[in-house]
Symmetry: C2
Subunit: 461 residues, 2 copies
């Protein structure tokens, strides 16, 4: 069958990204029947040329429609329109008034944000609807202590497959995001006035939790091997797989040094493994917890980066002998995680939809990382340097020539470019002076535009 | 049309309550077509007699099926089977393996629990499915600061209609349950070492939050007028509509005294209005916040009691001039509430389904309260007394004749009866010695069985 011939209007001034304009137009025509089920779509290269967009934009648009279930196929072999007889069209206009969609306000290069435009909303909606019909009480019934058993099973499988952690589902505690898990750990292990060691620079809410609990922070400098060992604290919160926000992983030597430290000092390591699923080349680095034979490490994971931040689902993996202590604290303070996302998420993981999505965004984010790092090397080498760790969701771009990161960030914000200053992530003066640039939530077109504006900011400083 | 003739096997030894056995059997026959659409069901009184169950059990079973949409009608006029051609039957047996429903482990008389068996699961599932189809990004997109606008609108409407509070939706902050809102308030107003005043007896997690934040609790004794005024603290957390756990409301004089105290001392009142929608007779008592013309009261509400505890959705209503302070704290500590329940909940409220459910459970809970208070007056007056406040979700039953509440609670637990001891809700020795008995999550049959066992406990002490 010859591919259908299509003309799609593109508005380059629109705030809607071009790939989304293309996907929206194709989606509308498929749903209205204007493009019939079974029709072949034009190949990405030819279609991109015809519309005057980059090929990667075209690929992203097709990938989006594949994820949503409107088309099937793959690059090279061609894409065809699915039979979508069962799609429910939006019925009432009133409906749209009742719940308006949330406006997208992200600016490039906000760090740590996934691109929810790539999310398989239709497949997720179907999973949620299936649960609603089949086991509605799993979404609203009594919330079981530590989370829905099905989700705890799926997470145990996930950390075994992806992080080399062989654990019993009974060791999993479902929390309201990783930050809830980190706060829970601090409450279990620390009393008023205790020291708690955290990396500096590091994840800022941790400093707030520590201050709010009346603990004294011990800041660990981060060198080429990773964070330094604590001298006073009995608890250390670390990001060994990929340091936040600098990037780079802790060396095996330092990992073992931390495990020895914990063992010899009756200490505890909290491993905050916030986005380690995003490693774009080489072998995955096993979790520090997987090296620990002494039950001194609490592993904390999150779905905020790899799935959706607004679900508010994270988890802690707790050594068996600590389960009672965690249960006591959780009972005293109350459960924070909503039950509602847990059953659909478990099903999404168990049916493999979750992993299809994860593989897809990994591929896309890798392309975006490549695009950003190429551009930084090509057009920004006079103002800064960076290490490409081929992992994570952001680049720490270190400024040179006396440029001040806070000043650059401030000027960039005026030009609608969001770069966070590295120095803002430090509690003490560490000499870090750079920009944290997220590359996941923005496509190449958006980043290109933002880079042009950022270049102008540098040229005017 | 003559009512169909039905025989339903009832297992009185089963842990499944009888009304649910009846509802399950009718539901299965309706779904299989064994009872046809349009068929009249037997009248409650005759059917109850035939099956040998109480009429209220029968009414609860029918009400359940009405809420789920399987039958329609009302007591007196008769009930008929709906056309359920569009019901999706559970398709694969595999599906049930993926997500098992959560087991019901509640024992009478656990306090503060709604009866999720009465929940309109089918209508809720349909609302969720509609959102999934129409605006899927409203469930998983970027979480807006302070919560989904549609839900904040619905909550503003709710507190206006139910609590006499005229507020702008911009003043609403959606939180992960009321406890998250209370913790947020403490973080906004208190620094390490400050006093925070809370009622004693009172809601126990508050004591934990206060200790965990390095604050000093000032315990307010609770008398006939309500809580006493603080002497040292600048912040007081109160339950004026219905004291927790004693019951009873704060007098207007004391309410005004608290507002004057706040105004004259630069103090703040946090009004924890956790279940005030459950007032079964007389006029609703307006929120304390509705009397406050000075912006000194933060109103905290929750969906945990009136809807579902496992959604984890509550809210704070913040005076306009404090919004920035709350926003700052929320940004520093991070958002806890999941976005996913917010759009369906907003729609449920706006379409009125929410209020149909609320009116229905109010009626049922009122019957259950009546049943429990009648039984306590009739069969337990030798061992204790209580005030019937005709509100709330539990009865504080004060023991007499030298009985010790902790001992009774312990023995009751052995007999599979869950009564919490009032003294456990006190931080200081206040002379409270009683049992907290929840009546909402249990039907009359369940309570009758539990009361028989509780009576035996008293007889053996």
């Amino acid at each position: 069958m010859r591919p259908v011939s299509l003309s799609i209007p593109i508005d380059r001034e629109s705030p809607i990204p071009i790939f989304e304009q293309i996907a929206a137009e194709l989606r509308a025509r498929i749903m209205s029947g204007a493009i019939a089920a079974g029709a072949q779509l034009p190949p990405t290269r030819a279609f991109a040329l015809q519309l005057g967009v980059s090929r990667s934009t075209m690929v992203t648009a097709y990938d989006q429609l594949v994820a949503e279930g409107y088309i099937s196929g793959r690059r090279g072999a061609g894409f065809a329109v699915e039979n979508i007889g069962d799609v429910s069209l939006p019925s009432a206009s009133r409906a749209r008034e009742v719940v308006e969609p949330v406006a997208r306000l992200l600016l490039p290069f906000r760090p740590g944000e996934p691109d929810m435009r790539l999310f398989p909303h239709r497949a997720w909606g179907q999973a949620v609807s299936r649960i609603c019909r089949r086991v509605p009480e799993a979404m609203l019934g009594a919330a079981p202590r530590f989370g829905l058993p099905a989700l705890r099973h799926a997470i145990a499988q996930h950390v075994a497959d992806w992080r080399g952690l062989e654990v019993d589902p009974a060791q999993i505690i479902v929390t309201s995001g990783a930050s809830d898990a980190l706060e829970l750990c601090l409450r279990v292990f620390c009393r008023q006035g205790d020291f708690a060691a955290i990396e500096d620079p590091g994840y800022r809410p941790l400093r707030e939790f520590i201050a709010a609990q009346g603990l004294t922070p011990e800041y660990l400098a981060v060198g080429a091997q990773g964070a330094e060992l604590p001298l006073q604290a009995k608890i250390a919160v670390l990001t060994p797989s990929q340091h936040f926000p600098l990037g780079g992983s802790m060396t095996p030597q330092r990992r073992h040094a931390f495990l020895r430290w914990a063992q010899q000092n009756d200490g505890w390591v909290i491993e905050d493994d916030y986005d380690s699923e995003f490693r774009f080349s080489g072998r995955p680095i096993p979790a520090l917890a997987s090296l620990d034979g002494q039950g001194r490490t609490i592993y904390v994971g999150s779905f905020s980066k790899i799935f959706s931040n607004s679900l508010r689902i994270g988890y802690a993996v707790v050594p068996p002998e600590l389960q009672q202590r965690f249960a006591d604290v959780q009972r005293r303070f109350g459960m924070r995680a909503s039950l509602m996302p847990q059953a659909p998420l478990a099903e999404f993981m168990q049916t493999g939809e979750f992993y299809r999505h994860l593989r897809r965004v990994r591929r896309t984010y890798d392309q975006r990382r490549q695009f950003l790092t190429d551009a930084l090397r090509r057009d920004f080498s006079d103002v800064g340097t960076f290490d490409d760790h081929q992992a994570g969701m952001q680049i720490a771009f270190h400024l040179k020539n006396g440029l001040r990161d806070t000043q650059v960030a401030e000027q960039a914000a005026k030009a609608q470019v969001e770069v966070e200053s590295l120095s803002a992530y430090c509690a003490e003066d560490r000499g870090y002076n750079g920009l944290l640039m997220g590359f996941c939530a923005f496509d190449e077109e958006e980043m290109a535009q933002a880079l042009t504006r950022l270049r102008a900011v540098f040229d005017q400083l």
